[in-house]
């Protein structure tokens, strides 16, 4: 059984501790960087959710941590909406592997 951890602004993440999610409040990019290091420092497998607004300048760190098989860092939108980072990350992975951009028509 592995933990679910979340990095988000304090006003969003504090109530989620009620559900049993391990919370790492962060209100700036620097705090988010520290929180990400703390969340990923043990070798224990975990699912880490981070809001896109905080993850803007942490793409390199997130890609590096995602290479570890026991960690999975997922970017999610927050109350201010999505900025498309998660979508771009997947697009980039697919472009690098297949060599073409994938457009899926509904």
């Amino acid at each position: 059984m592995h933990k679910i951890k979340m990095i988000a602004p304090k006003y969003l993440v504090a109530p989620l501790a009620i559900l049993g999610i391990e919370t790492y409040p962060a209100n700036s990019e620097a705090e988010a960087r520290t929180a990400l290091e703390r969340a990923g420092e043990n070798k224990e497998p975990a699912l880490i959710l981070i809001t896109e607004q905080l993850a803007v300048d942490l793409q390199a760190e997130i890609s590096l941590l995602n290479r570890r098989p026991e960690l999975n860092i997922v970017m999610i939108p927050d109350n201010q909406g999505s900025i498309g980072l998660a979508f771009d990350q997947i697009n980039e992975l697919v472009k690098n592997s297949i060599g073409a951009e994938v457009i899926i028509r509904k």
Binding site: H2, V74, D78, S97, I98
Partner: protein, 197 residues
């Protein structure tokens, strides 16, 4: 001997190249299927998460730190993720399953705003889909890195190893044919000399 060994190696390399190419095509198909499922899920999940976080933000603003802290202490809910490994064409991909126990709303309702309770309930419902999204995410990462590795091996076989082996085979055949011709000419010369005597 060397020619026989090289011929065997060429046949083996061509067989390996065909197998790797088939594996590559299979993995690309798998990747596209997972990407499609990921896009579909993230499309529906995005708006739900935005709504939930807006309610959480509203609820957070209406509750005091002390009340939130005491609600956290009273909470009995626990969530965790169970990870098993599934094998797709020799690639190990983690499969996530959400395990939750306890009631998410196990604290008193008196001090907590309705938006917060509603948001927490909705977040629990959406957590299962979020875990599924995380599974698709990891699958895409693992498949993409495997595809890049296999592509490199296929290209190495197709453009480096097989041409080198074929060139070596051609060179040896050429040398052997030359040796045969020169032996034939030498024998004819010796015959002429012996006849002349």
């Amino acid at each position: 001997m060397e020619l026989l060994r090289l011929r065997r190696r060429t046949v083996l390399a061509k067989k390996g190249h065909k197998l790797l190419k088939d594996k590559l095509d299979g993995l690309i198909q798998q990747l596209l299927a997972v990407v499609k499922a990921h896009r579909r899920l993230s499309g529906t999940l995005e708006q739900k998460l935005i709504d939930i976080f807006q309610k959480l933000a509203l609820g957070s603003a209406q509750i005091s730190q002390a009340a939130l802290y005491s609600a956290t202490l009273l909470a009995t809910s626990k969530v965790a993720v169970d990870i098993t490994i599934k094998n797709i064409m020799g690639v190990k991909i983690p499969k996530y399953e959400l395990k939750s126990e306890g009631d998410p709303i196990s604290y008193g309702f008196a001090e907590t705003p309705a938006e917060l309770d509603q948001a927490l309930k909705e977040f629990m419902e959406v957590l299962k889909e979020l875990v599924m999204l995380a599974e698709h995410n990891k699958a895409i990462q693992v498949l993409a890195s495997q595809i890049i590795e296999i592509k490199r091996r296929v290209n190495a076989l197709e453009y480096v190893m097989i041409p080198e082996l074929e060139n070596s085979v051609r060179f040896i055949k050429m040398k052997l044919a030359e040796m045969e011709r020169s032996t034939t000419v030498t024998l004819l010369k010796i015959k002429d000399i012996v006849r002349a005597r």
